[in-house]
Symmetry: D2
Subunit: 347 residues, 4 copies
């Protein structure tokens, strides 16, 4: 019953097998090897973007911060949700990589609305050089609160960005979970709706530590390459990043893994709803935010469940606390059933 995070599970066998295959003889460093080139080509094909610049980095924070640094000058600002990972969980990495840009928070929840985005950008338009220059709009799909933007919602946001001539960054740490949930192609959820730079995440979906940054305008490639090296994210033994991504792309493993995680998420939502438990996110992929009395949280954890709760477990038993359940690809249906049974027992 481990639902703490999707960065805590093991990697599937094909990833280790691919690493083993790649570990043969000599290969040129820094991404010049055949495997790295081939993997980049496969991602271009997957995104139906033959001219895209594609780069592998080891962490999602690196992918986001490097992408934003290419889209936002140091005297600019990035528009994002108040709970965006780039704002809440990257310890100033976007500010660091951009050389001092701001993040301007769009009022509301995890899903930005086009109205709030438009109003926020417009408000930043009024101060000339006294305020920052308007920079990229950053969208997180799946959001940090477990919701999946619909395609219409995404289009509405990118349309606002385009109205102001601003580029769009997609934080796709859980890109796979969203694409599977919406049953769309990577192209449909990126450049076809106006995304300029897309992070195609692998780490939260079963890889040891690889994210692909897909830049649809190749004119931005050189800057990214220098910024990646300067940020110490260009691996000398690049084949070991490429090998993980190769396995991820092979036989749509990325879709398979995301599908498993999403199914567990659905099983959780249905079970909790049937049990009369309030679920916060009205859409979902592999994360569920829900309420239980503190006492029930304690009982469920005592039964062996691991997950994150907002607030201390010490306190009045009947006080409601929000919990977060995250399913990685390896969670078994039995684990979900056991969790739901524990919730029932605690109810």
């Amino acid at each position: 019953m481990f639902f703490a995070s999707d960065n805590s599970g093991p990697v599937p066998a094909p990833v280790l097998e691919s690493l083993t295959r790649a570990n043969d003889g000599y290969s040129i460093g820094y991404g010049g090897d055949a495997l790295s080139q081939d993997v980049a080509d496969r991602i271009r094909t997957l995104f139906e973007a033959p001219d895209a610049a594609v780069y592998l980095v080891p962490t999602g924070t690196a992918a986001n911060a490097l992408a934003l640094a290419c889209l936002c000058p140091p005297y600019g600002t990035v528009f994002c949700s108040p709970v965006a990972h780039i704002h809440e969980d990257e310890c100033n990495a976007p500010e660091f990589y951009s050389g001092g840009a701001k993040l301007t928070l769009v009022p509301g929840g995890d899903r930005m609305t086009p109205e709030a985005l438009r109003a926020t950008i417009a408000a930043e338009e009024t101060r000339g050089v006294h305020g920052p220059l308007r920079g990229p709009v950053s969208i997180t799909q799946v959001t940090e609160r477990g919701n999946v933007y619909s395609m219409d919602e995404l289009r509405a946001l990118t349309a606002v960005a385009k109205d102001f001539g601003l580029p769009v960054h997609l934080d796709g740490a859980r890109f796979a979970n969203a694409a599977v949930k919406l049953d769309v192609t990577p192209a449909e959820m990126s450049w076809k709706i106006g995304v300029d730079v897309c992070v195609f995440g692998g780490t939260k979906n079963g890889l040891m530590g690889v994210e692909a940054v897909v830049i649809f305008d190749p004119a931005r490639a050189q800057e990214f390459e220098f910024r990646r090296k300067r940020a110490a994210h260009l691996f000398s033994k690049h084949r070991y990043l490429a090998a993980q991504m190769e396995a991820y792309l092979q036989n749509d493993l990325w879709r398979d893994l995301a599908g498993r995680a999403n199914s567990r998420g659905t099983q959780l939502v249905q079970g909790l709803t049937q049990a009369g438990v309030r679920v916060h996110n009205d859409t979902h992929a592999n994360m569920v935010f829900f309420d239980l009395p503190r006492g029930a949280h304690r009982a469920v954890m005592a039964a062996g469940a691991t997950y994150h709760v907002w607030g201390s477990l010490d306190g009045p038993a009947d006080e409601m606390l929000m919990g977060r359940l995250v399913c990685d690809w390896s969670v078994q249906p039995e684990a979900v059933s056991a969790f739901l049974a524990a919730v029932q027992a605690a109810g």
Copy 2:
């Protein structure tokens, strides 16, 4: 006959086996797992530094840039060799991570002399706020030109730094090769001679991509932790960095791998010297810099050797060009013999 670099060979079997062992079930992210904690303890033990702060990062550039950022304010300067990796091969990473510090080059070759270091620091002492504040001294061991500082040479450099009250950073991308060559312990080649922050490299010596940063003053730990996260080098699935390092430490694998590479280096030096070829570095570990006429380089490469040459292979056959041979752990004696035979044949 592959002597292009020590970042181009495969990793030894124990590393893959350790990754496979580590890939079992769930573990807490971001280095909070037992394996990561255990590996840090082993490094503290290896360095005889029970209070040291120890961190794993994926690249040598990250290790150097983060270490220097903790030792040098943005208005300071780092003293290093003109051919130091931090100056020549990290695309401004130290400047970036430090927030704009300078590198002040100590005149001379790859091995700084205490006299040149002292004179350079003294010269920077004269301009008050018009020049940068004096910052750390950065020493590369093994140097970028293949030389190994003797213990006396290292002590002489750290003594100069201490005379000015400056901290010392050791770029140990090839720490293992040097320690084996000098037959000293990690403690002897670091804090016991005045090194404040030491990079214990793994990538160039057989790992996929892991370096340990050992900070002997634990008061500097918090800053490093925030800087590592901000720089996007804190891995969520940290166990896969730890697993590589675990294998590296097990049964002194790090010494074994470095010993192999150094032996090939010795074999090359001896063979080239016997063949009357000029070898540049008067000491060596696993790298050899040597001169051959351009025509001979062409012939040796035609015979199947791969290595770096300074200058174009197109030109007068009799012009002398410097070549660089780097042995990784996996180079076989037969490959060296074949290379030397090719040199003889080309002579």
Copy 3:
């Protein structure tokens, strides 16, 4: 009827006279001259802080950004009001000077409440290295909406900062106006209530362009000096900054000028209130925020008044728009009377 800003009026005669006096013969550059030293001493005396480090810079943004850079690491965050000048009007200068720190906005209006400040700091305490390190609390006195914190309100805010061990920065661009309004000494409104670094503004109160940064802990002096030079704010002909400040301190000119501006502010508040006009700021020094119908704004401006209005002057005549009136030291009572008459006429 010029109420657009307190950076648009002329400087008083004593400032020009002091510049003329200072313009005699040779003097050492970069602040080493006797006048610069003497002015620093006078400020130390004024603040009853014999050990304080005191520096002159030409702009308020430079004073704030340099002060914050000394108080906040690049991986930290500054707590301030959502309408703070450092957030809204300095084009990322704090982010730039600090090397990428964040500003965390304390929910509410221009006057932070201790409750909101405490809750905001506490919320930032929970994420470890995933969020920024907690940094300084920045207080703007007079606020950007014209309010003057009472001494009790200031003490309550600094007390919260101290509870978390955080330093306090006071943006005193209008320090003089506040001190005169509250009838307190510079010491009482700074270090005696826990301010660590205070900006003693001159530019908005009659100088051409000089602000003093008063750092009560001299251990922070060296860092400030290097940061000021690095930021290109160390004047070679420093005597011309010092001369302005000398005139400002002579015979309490700074109090005299602020007193004049504040009196005009009071005259405006009283007149507008009597006229039944809503005034937003419940306390005031030299700024008044008020509501008039758009048509009335148009009529008052047609009568010759100059001031800032939130929103376009084109639109329905009866829609209420907020205006801002700022009195500099040189505004005459007659100008205020004329303005109030114009408002009456427009009513």
Copy 4:
């Protein structure tokens, strides 16, 4: 006999008079006032560059650092002389403003040679992303060692930059002294020979603290404006910068002042040469570098001369030490004669 620096003398009367004239009534802040606009137009006319973007900043370091930040990305490098002001006297300001760019020093003295510049740029061309991207070439005219590049020498340097497609920055802190010395127009010494961004210095030539940055490609204007504000160098009371520059341009005051300073320089060179004293700089404007025995330096200073000497005045009387004489506009011929007499007496 004050020859310590050209930032230590008084400003000429017209500058104070212009400040007094400008100090009349209200004017819009931040450079929107008529005087500021007019002064920018006059500089465009002076430079025969009707489309140029022109900005005033208070210090030469600000002018250089802002200009370089617009010309060099954070992952780039600036090519300059080892004694360039941007390298030796700006405490990492170019590194700070650019976000971490390097300065690559062109071997040689204060005057770069086209051969050395070409070789240095070519050497930086070889490392791809491992080294920085090639950035602007920065030329200092008059050099920091008192020499004045001939027009042919300048053309040779800009030609090398253009061969590599690199922009050219001219540090013209002493632009006026050079233009008068060479008897050329500002246009001839800037865009007509390939300078992209020119600093037209005023501070060292008689102003309190104003430099004009002339950007010949207006497409770079917006970036400069945001960077200037972000760096806290946009003055609210901009008219007081403009007023100084207005006086400087009126009746070619800038040429008059530079002419005076240069004449004193010539008087010094001739007198010293006649006295058999070695003068280092083979060309000159208002600075002279010369050798005297330590004892003679002591005697000349005892006679009342003030200037900078390389090395301590304590030591063997007969050891040769280099001294630097700088003439500002206000130095009188009598002061030079007195100095030369003191040298004779000390001989």
